[in-house]
């Protein structure tokens, strides 16, 4: 090669290399005068309100370099007091949902959706409004405050009826009963924290009922030994044990639909009146009823909650009325039941109203984050109705829309939401909108009355305003309606559609965390399923994972079978929230939509009931394996999740003196954790927070099927223990969250050939991802099996990668990872303390799981500091180490559950 040629070739190569660098033009706007609050590398925090469900918990959104990466509860918010549930944690995945609409879309003549720009979209919207001539219906997510006012003003201006706020969990029965009992059709505020005894006739207040984080928090205040020396007694009466009933001291598996008889019987015993007729249908012995009534009367104030979604049977109204009367008779009105303080849910449309609206076929239907066709698949929609959807993503209703004008995600929006009058919260945008979306308020073009500057500033800083609420006196109770229960037809089973803490009414189904984190009870991830009692399954010849066809008078659904002892043999449970047909990459193809089975019409009482049908079961001969992440639910004699002895107090369990006694010399800190099994309700919020904080990979259903889930803190469920197996009346279900135990004498460390697993001088079992070659010996030798291996290259479909926490390494294929006690948070607080030259205080460091735990079951701190909470808990009488006799000296102390009662 000549020198000239060489230079030519190398110039070309250099130019090619240089041009590679400018392949993706990036907009970089330098700040001429930098914002003093913006410190590169440090996150910013914005207060906002969670809109994942109507509970309206306060949020603090962590924003790294303009990207919201994690949400946490706002400690100043009266509803959630700094805590958040699994669904709230997934809200960042809603923002970065890969299936979000990028721009407005319209339906072409051929029926396909076509992208348009906003001027075109607005023009179509205006012309649709003009041609509708007042036949306009608004079906939208529950809104209060500014947007509510704007929607109402806009509808009035166009001579349209007021909006229908659509929530599938709309508590129609509860509201009707309050109309009858107290004279006002409201969803009230319940105060669990004031109750000294508690009965739930099906209300799943730890999962979805009205305000689950608030209730979980209040429930642990009255029920956990960590927070009260005299725990309240909790009785659950429902046909299936869900997460709520799992925490009950006593459980009555009453026949579905007979709950009203039990409530009336309790009322009769409390008020010394004759028992209702037909008590034998309940299959609950009388002495239990008398004992429960006595407990209620002795432990006042008490609280009785009515039916929930899963047992919203035709007799639910009678039950709820009896419950209201019982509360009133026990003097709970004004104490634990506040019938004069309406929850925002009061403003929702009933299901019957929504059904009626669709049957009227309005000319223009406006959908705002509502998906009624998923819950009511039989509803008519289409010509002559012109449908405009403001949805952020495709869903079962929006897929039939003619025009899509996507709204911002709530994390990109201004707004306000008040779940109740004393908790008005303000939403503020936490990032520049990801896509070409527009807030619906702007589309409507209304300018509602604004807040005063003072209000706004206060509200923005705190994320919540405080407001005084006037209390009213209770109304007089009314008489119970006359209902009766027909016997179950032979070969038919009562359908129990049960909502779960992770999927709610199905709106969180397209969040990979909500899918990957297994259901707390069944431990099944990624699929819808039906649940049968083993006796029933055996009698019908079904094996687990067989696909069963459920046939109701209104439709069929095919679902794989999960066999559980925690459902009545005459019932079949179906998980709701799965079975989406067009809701995104993670939600689709997860079984059939079970709402097809429900009665699409309201019943004679004018209410739509969720659990009003019986179904026949048919074999399909098909099989669909369910990703069951915990198949063994018995402790055998392994001493895992322990409870106090029901006899006299036992001495603290200290590990026996060991010949091989061995301790690392710690100088500054020894990080430790205490987990209170009596507080833990198994809600999995800690798992979701961990996924969000630590960039944990998700590979989907096929990986979950082969146990390749990556969670760093798994919550195991056990049924009683060796000495006290679960009984029907006393499930004694125990939840055991297992993070890395950060052993002092760690089995994982010494087996690693490359020192990737090593011991830090603050007691953590460090893991150097860069140094790991992937022998996986550490995981084999870990007796807690908390280590997770990267089976594939982790992937986050765009734009989900923007959610990644920049303080945590994204692990590569082939390396081991595990819980780090959120070492990035520890380091940050240590550095801050050193920079500001002040000592670290107990509680300065909060791990992600501890931060979000709704019941404060997790406490993190320094074991070397004898005054720290964790050190005191480690020495608690209830404390024990998991597998402590294996000489691992774990840094996690578990606190035993209270002794069984009942």
């Amino acid at each position: 090669m000549l020198r000239r040629d060489f230079i030519k070739a190398s110039t070309l190569a250099a130019a090619g290399a240089a041009s590679e660098a400018c392949r993706q033009p990036q907009q970089i706007l330098p700040l001429l005068a930098p914002d003093p609050r913006l410190i590169p590398g440090r996150p910013q925090f914005f207060a906002s309100v969670c809109r994942e469900c109507p509970a309206g918990c306060g949020l603090v959104v962590k924003v790294n370099d303009g990207r919201p990466t994690k949400v946490e509860g706002n400690p100043d918010h009266p509803v959630n007091q700094g805590k958040l549930c699994l669904r709230g944690q997934t809200s960042v995945q809603g923002l970065y949902n890969p299936d979000r609409f990028r721009q407005p879309m319209t339906r072409t003549a051929r029926g396909q959706l076509e992208a348009i720009d906003w001027p075109q979209g607005m023009a179509r919207f205006q012309s649709a409004v003009a041609t509708a001539q007042g036949s306009i219906a608004w079906v939208g997510r529950l809104e209060t405050g500014t947007l509510d006012r704007a929607i109402r003003a806009w509808l009035t201006r166009h001579q349209a009826p007021p909006p229908l706020y659509y929530e599938h969990f709309s508590y129609d029965t509860l509201r009707r009963s309050f109309q009858i009992t107290y004279g006002a059709p409201i969803v009230p505020i319940f105060r669990l924290d004031r109750a000294r005894s508690l009965i739930s006739f099906g209300a799943d207040f730890l999962e979805t009922y009205i305000s689950n984080v608030e209730y979980a928090h209040q429930f642990s205040d009255i029920h956990s030994l960590a927070h009260t020396p005299t725990p309240a007694y909790f009785l659950a009466v429902m046909p299936r044990v869900g997460l709520t009933a799992a925490s009950a001291d006593e459980y009555w598996p009453a026949r579905a639909g007979t709950e009203y008889l039990l409530a009336q019987a309790l009322l009769a015993v409390v008020t010394n009146r004759p028992l209702p007729a037909g008590m034998e249908q309940c299959e609950i012995p009388m002495d239990l009823i008398e004992r429960a009534a006595q407990r209620l009367a002795e432990n006042r104030p008490s609280l009785v909650l009515g039916p929930g979604y899963g047992n919203d049977s035709p007799t639910a109204l009678a039950c709820q009325i009896a419950v209201n009367q019982l509360n009133d008779a026990l003097g709970n009105t004004g104490q634990t039941v506040l019938p004069d303080v309406p929850h925002a849910l009061t403003q929702c449309a009933t299901q019957a109203e929504v059904i009626e609206l669709f049957e009227q076929r309005p000319r223009l239907l406006l959908l705002h984050h509502a998906n009624p066709l998923y819950h009511h698949p039989a509803l008519p929609l289409g010509a002559p109705t012109f449908t405009v959807s403001f949805a952020s993503t495709m869903d079962e209703t929006t897929q039939r829309a003619d025009l899509i004008l996507p709204d911002h995600d709530f994390l990109e929006s201004w707004g306000d939401y008040a779940p109740r009058a004393d908790a008005p919260g303000i939403l503020q945008p936490t990032r520049i909108p990801l896509y070409d979306t527009r807030p619906t308020l702007e589309v409507l073009g209304e300018k509602p009355a604004a807040y005063s500057d003072q209000e706004l500033q206060r509200g923005l800083a705190a994320g919540v305003q405080s407001a005084a609420v006037a209390h009213r006196a209770p109304a007089t109770p009314a008489v119970a309606p006359n209902v009766s229960l027909a016997p179950l037809p032979a070969g038919e089973y009562t359908l129990i559609p049960f909502p779960t803490v992770q999927l709610f009414d199905g709106r969180q189904a397209n969040r990979s965390w909500a899918q990957e984190i297994a259901d707390p009870m069944s431990k099944i991830a990624w699929d819808g399923y039906c649940e049968l009692h083993p006796e029933t399954a055996k009698r019908l010849g079904y094996e687990p994972n067989d696909v069963v066809r459920l046939r109701s008078p209104f439709g069929t659904a095919e679902l794989p079978l999960f066999v559980s002892t925690w459902i009545r043999p005459d019932c079949v449970g179906v998980l709701i929230g799965q079975g989406h047909s067009n809701y995104g990459m993670w939600a689709n193809e997860r079984g059939d939509n079970i709402h097809r089975l429900q009665n699409p019409a309201p019943l004679a009482d004018g209410l739509w009931h969720a659990a009003s049908v019986t179904v026949k079961l048919e074999s399909t001969g098909k099989n669909r394996p369910l990703a069951n992440l915990q198949t063994e639910r018995l402790q055998r004699d392994k001493r895992l999740a322990l409870a106090l002895s029901s006899k006299e107090p036992e001495p603290p369990t200290t590990p026996a003196a060991s010949f091989y006694h061995f301790h690392h010399p710690y100088v500054n800190h020894r990080w430790g954790m205490a987990i209170d099994l009596d507080s833990c309700i198994g809600c999995n919020a800690c798992q979701a927070a961990c996924y969000a904080e630590n960039n944990i990979a998700i590979w989907g259903r096929s990986s979950a099927l082969s146990h390749r889930e990556m969670t760093w803190i798994r919550v195991e469920i056990f049924e009683g223990d060796q000495g006290h197996p679960s009984t029907e009346l006393n499930p004694d279900l125990r939840f055991l969250p297992i993070p890395c135990q950060q052993c002092d004498n760690a089995p994982c460390e010494y087996v690693c050939p490359t020192f990737a697993a090593y011991h830090t001088d603050e007691g953590l079992n460090g893991q150097v991802y860069n140094r790991c070659v992937g022998t996986r010996y550490c995981s084999n030798n870990c007796i807690y099996k908390v280590r997770r291996f990267n089976w594939y290259t982790p992937q986050w479909p765009e734009p989900l990668n923007q959610q990644l926490n920049p303080d945590v390494t994204v692990r590569a294929k082939g390396v081991m990872e595990k819980c780090t006690f959120c070492v990035q948070r520890i380091t940050q607080v240590e550095l801050d303390a050193a920079t500001n030259q002040r000592p670290m205080r107990d509680g300065d460091i909060q791990t992600a799981c501890e931060q979000t735990c709704p019941t404060n079951a997790i406490v993190f701190g320094d074991l070397l500091d004898p005054a720290s909470r964790v050190a005191r808990l480690a020495a608690d009488n209830r404390g024990y180490g998991l597998f402590a006799d294996e000489n691992t000296y774990p840094a996690v102390t578990y606190l035993k559950k209270k002794a069984r009662r009942g």
Binding site: W699, H707, L736, Y777, N781, I783, K785, W791, G814
Partner: protein, 463 residues
């Protein structure tokens, strides 16, 4: 009176010995041989493709999954290391004990050792999550000044295996030097050059022979403790862990006995076809094979004792984790491999108590293959059931074989067979020099004895 085996070689002339042993090397490869080689290479190709897929996509394509983080690969590793054991046992220990049946197997079993180690050595690398970083487990000076963790049994493994490989390789090669020299003397062209280099200038003079024999016996002495040490260290991979089912004192002797047991079976599996196809019946006699069968009875009984001891200890300890682990090993999800393993390793070798089975080629071959299957399953059962049923029942989970894993296992057998087939084509499969020495010794003995009229007419005539 001398043993029959001592004077039997007197029948042969040295020329015959050379011709017969070198025939496979000097003759062009047969069609059958080439087909066998092609089949082995096909298996290797399957293995390479499977491993390539695993490297590209990740360990997720193997059946390994939480909590069973080791399965088929480590099973293969231990299996092949076990196979490697009897090679040294036969070559070195039997050499030291002057066992007369030794020469007939020594070369083939040494080769088997080397190739088994070469196969076993692949698995610790290809089971790694990041196989391209495998050299990080070696203690080598590096700019990052990171050393390896000498407490880790995996690092001990590296030393044990590399030492074993080095000593075995030298021992094997040293034994072949005189044979290469003979090949060189008989060959022409490039083969003469090749064997010329390989034979290191061997002319068979006394000056060369004296130090050669000294070195040979020295290496035999060095290799003998390695038979014990290597598998002891391999057993520490398990015994030094905390897991019920792995954490056992009996593991080192149990693994060594098991390794020799499986190695002897593998020698039989390889030598019987070798003897048949290359017509070595004169040199590998039924007596030789029978001697191996007797050794198998001994090692099988040690293995059976170990099985029983494991169960006794688990029960006697009263430890709930041990008891559960051992109960579920026999009656859990993997009960089939467990019981198959028990039958193959404990009951089937008992057939060798019958002389008819011991002296039947079919019997020997079938039993030896069953033992190989049993010993493979033994490692699988120990590894997989222990990991599947450890301390916390909530963390129990199963392993299922995938095509990638099976492909890699097939590839490892193909790799081993390829190496072995190349060996029989390029090097004498019997130690020619030693056979000749035995022939000369036997001739001497016959001459001496017949001069003293101590041998019958027929014997002299036959010799």
């Amino acid at each position: 009176m001398p043993l029959r085996s001592e004077i039997e070689p007197a029948r042969f002339t040295l020329r015959e010995v050379s011709d017969e042993i070198l025939r496979p090397v000097e003759a062009p490869p047969s069609m059958r041989y080439l087909l066998g080689l092609a089949f082995s290479l096909l298996c290797v190709a399957i293995g390479v493709a499977a491993w390539g897929r695993q490297l590209y996509i990740g360990m997720g394509v193997s059946g390994v999954a939480w909590p069973v983080m080791w399965a088929m690969y480590i099973t293969c590793f231990v299996f092949w290391i076990g196979i490697a054991h009897s090679g040294t046992l036969i070559s070195a220990i039997l050499y030291l004990f002057r066992a007369k049946f030794r020469p007939s197997f020594s070369r083939a079993s040494e080769a088997m050792t080397i190739f088994a180690i070469a196969t076993a050595g692949l698995f610790p690398i290809l089971h790694l999550g990041r196989a391209w970083r495998f050299y990080w487990v070696f203690p080598y000076p590096n700019e990052r000044r990171i050393w390896v963790n000498f407490r880790s049994p995996l690092v001990l493994d590296i030393f044990a295996i590399s030492t074993y490989l080095t000593v075995s390789l030298i021992f094997w090669y040293l034994g072949m030097v005189p044979d290469f020299a003979e090949l060189r003397d008989r060959a022409l062209g490039w083969r003469r050059t090749l064997y010329g280099v390989l034979s290191l200038g061997w002319v068979g003079s006394l000056r060369q022979k004296a130090p050669f024999l000294k070195l040979y016996i020295l290496l035999a002495g060095l290799a003998t403790p390695l038979v014990l040490s290597v598998h002891t260290m391999v057993s520490w991979d398990f015994a030094l862990s905390l897991l019920p089912g792995w954490h056992e004192e009996i593991f080192p002797p149990y693994f060594v006995a098991g390794a020799i047991f499986s190695g002897l079976a593998m020698v039989l599996t390889l030598v019987i076809p070798l003897r048949h196809f290359f017509h070595f019946e004169k040199h590998i006699t039924m007596d030789h094979l029978e001697a191996l069968a007797k050794l198998i009875i001994l090692t099988s009984s040690i293995v059976a004792y170990s099985y029983a001891s494991e169960y006794f200890t688990a029960w006697y300890s009263g430890d709930t984790y041990e008891r559960t682990a051992y109960f579920l090993r026999a009656f859990g999800h993997y009960w089939k491999p467990f019981w198959l393993m028990s039958v193959c390793n404990v009951l089937v070798p008992l057939l060798f108590f019958f002389r008819r089975v011991r002296r039947s080629l079919v019997g020997l071959l079938v039993v030896s293959i069953l033992i190989n299957v049993g010993m493979f399953l033994e490692r699988l059962v120990i590894i997989v059931t222990t990991l599947a049923y450890s301390f916390d029942p909530g963390s129990w989970g199963l392993w299922h074989l995938t095509w990638v894993e099976a492909g890699i296992v097939i590839g490892s057998f193909g790799w081993f067979m390829t190496l072995f087939l190349l060996f029989v084509q390029f090097a004498p499969s019997l130690p020619m020099a030693e056979v000749k020495r035995d022939v000369l010794e036997a001739k001497d003995m016959v001459a001496t004895l017949s001069a003293a009229h101590l041998l019958s007419e027929e014997t002299v005539h036959a010799a």
